[in-house]
Each structure stands twice: as C-alpha cells, then as structure tokens.
Amino acid sequence: MMVWKTLTRWYHQLGSPRYFYRFSEVLLPWLWPIALLTTAVGLVWGLAFAPEDYQQGNSYRIIFIHVPAAGGALLGYVAMGVAGLVNLVWRMKMAEVMIKAIAPFGAVLAAIALITGAIWGKPTWGTYWVWDARLTSMLIMLFLYLGVMALINAIPDPRQAGRAAGLLSVVGVINVVIVKYSVEWWQSLHQGSTIKLTGGSTMPPEMLTPLLISMLGIYLLFAVSVLWRARAELLWRERKSAWVKELV
C-alpha cells in the first residue's frame, strides 16, 4: 500500500505544472550532461572498440544508433499513448503537455531508425528498402508521430488539440505491437530481435555492452528533450498565473 500511496502522490505532484517545472529545474542541469556523456561513450565504444561482425563486417556498427533510435521511438510512442489515455480519462493538462513534448523527438528517432536501416540494408540485403512488415509498420509509426504533431498544430484550442492528439496516440499504440512482433509474425528480411528481455540475447558481451550504453544514452537524451519542450509549453500556457509571473 505504501507503493501505491507514493505513486499517487507523484502523480498529483508531477501533474501540477508548478511542481513539474521546479522538478525539471533541479533535474536538468545534471541530466543533460549525463545523457550526452552516456551517448558518446556508447557510440564511440561501438564504432571504434567493439569487434567486427564475422558475417556483416563493419556495416553492423550501424546497429549502435539504429536499435537505440528504434527502441526510443517505440518507447516514446507507448509513453505518448499512456499520456493520451490519461488525458482522455481524466482531462489532465499535464498529459496534453507531455503528448506535445514527446512527439517531435519521437518522430526524429523513427526517422533515424528508418534512414540508418535503409543505409544498413544496402550492403547487407542488397537493397535500401523493401515493403515488408517491419519496415512498413515503422514507416507508419513515423507518420503517426507526424500526425500527432500536425493535429496539435492544426487545432487552435489547446484542450481540443490535446484530446484529438491523445486519441490518435492511444489508437496508434496498436502499431507499436505490430512493429515489435512483425519479425516473428511475418516472413521478413529484417533480422530478429538482438536484445531479449527473457532468454539470452543474440550478441556477445563485447558488442552488447556498448549497445546497451548507447540505448540508455539515447533514452536519457529523449527525457531531456521532453523536459525542455514540456517546460516551454507549461510556461506559455500558464503565463498569466502567479507562479510564472513570480518566476520571470
């Protein structure tokens, strides 16, 4: 019961714009250097120190950006879907702000996953693109992110925009499941999962370690990006409130 109480307290505190702003103020000065450093360590390790792949040679090094980007895009979409659900059920302003803050970097990561995948496909499969389940569902994910951003921009009333974007976020979560399992459900050129939560991963530790560090780095960068965007949105929405006036 203690856990539940702590969770509900967090929910209400972080749901308060003022509290969230102060929380991010404390968090950001050390979160962004850590995020940058972690990403740099992971990528340099993967590019320069990890051994070559015996089948793919050095082209496999694209994995150290490709998988973190794809993973971040998926995780970001789930987070956006949760925010969308919270917003639809409880009409929580903070959830609207989060949807708007998550979408841009989510779209960037989906684009990176697609572009790096295409570049990697050329030496590995002999083609940049095939319309198979994994690649197509990932392209749909990019369009879903862009759709959420377009909806928010197109609807002038922020509450209505938030609800429409929230609905698209929730519905789009189905696509996350399709992306995740596409390589198991359908025949695909795309290789199976490298990292598995249950049962061993298909990679030796000298490759897996830099990959996991890169993933952590990109996820932390995502968090920093979301916090910065959420702060901007909160300040603007609450510009007439006492706490913002006190701040400026």
């Binding site: 320069a48 120190f49 070559e52 040679g57 050095n58 970097f105 960037v108 790096t116 030496p123 300040l235």
Partner: protein
Amino acid sequence: MYFESFAAFLQMGTHGPFVWSAYGISALLVVTNMWLAYRRQRLVLNEIRRLTRRDQGGL
C-alpha cells in the same frame, strides 16, 4: 581501439560510406532537435518577460 590505424577506422573495410553517412545524418537530426528544444524554452521565457514589461510599462 579495434582498428589498426585511424585511416582503417575511417575506412571500416569497405563499409565506411555506409557507417559514416548513417552516423552523420543521425547526429545532425539529434543535435538539431536538442537545440530547438532547448531554444524554445528560452524564447518562451523571453517572450513572457517582454509581455510582463509591456503590461507594467503601459497602463
């Protein structure tokens, strides 16, 4: 380092152009995004300050 020389590192066997273009495009996109996200909160803060000053200075 895994490679024998810096030139070999840049060459990546025959895969240099693939690996470096993938990383170049990714870095450009991520850096641009982080810069825009950071700048936005600064711009909003300045805009609110401007509006506040105008309200106080005006009536």
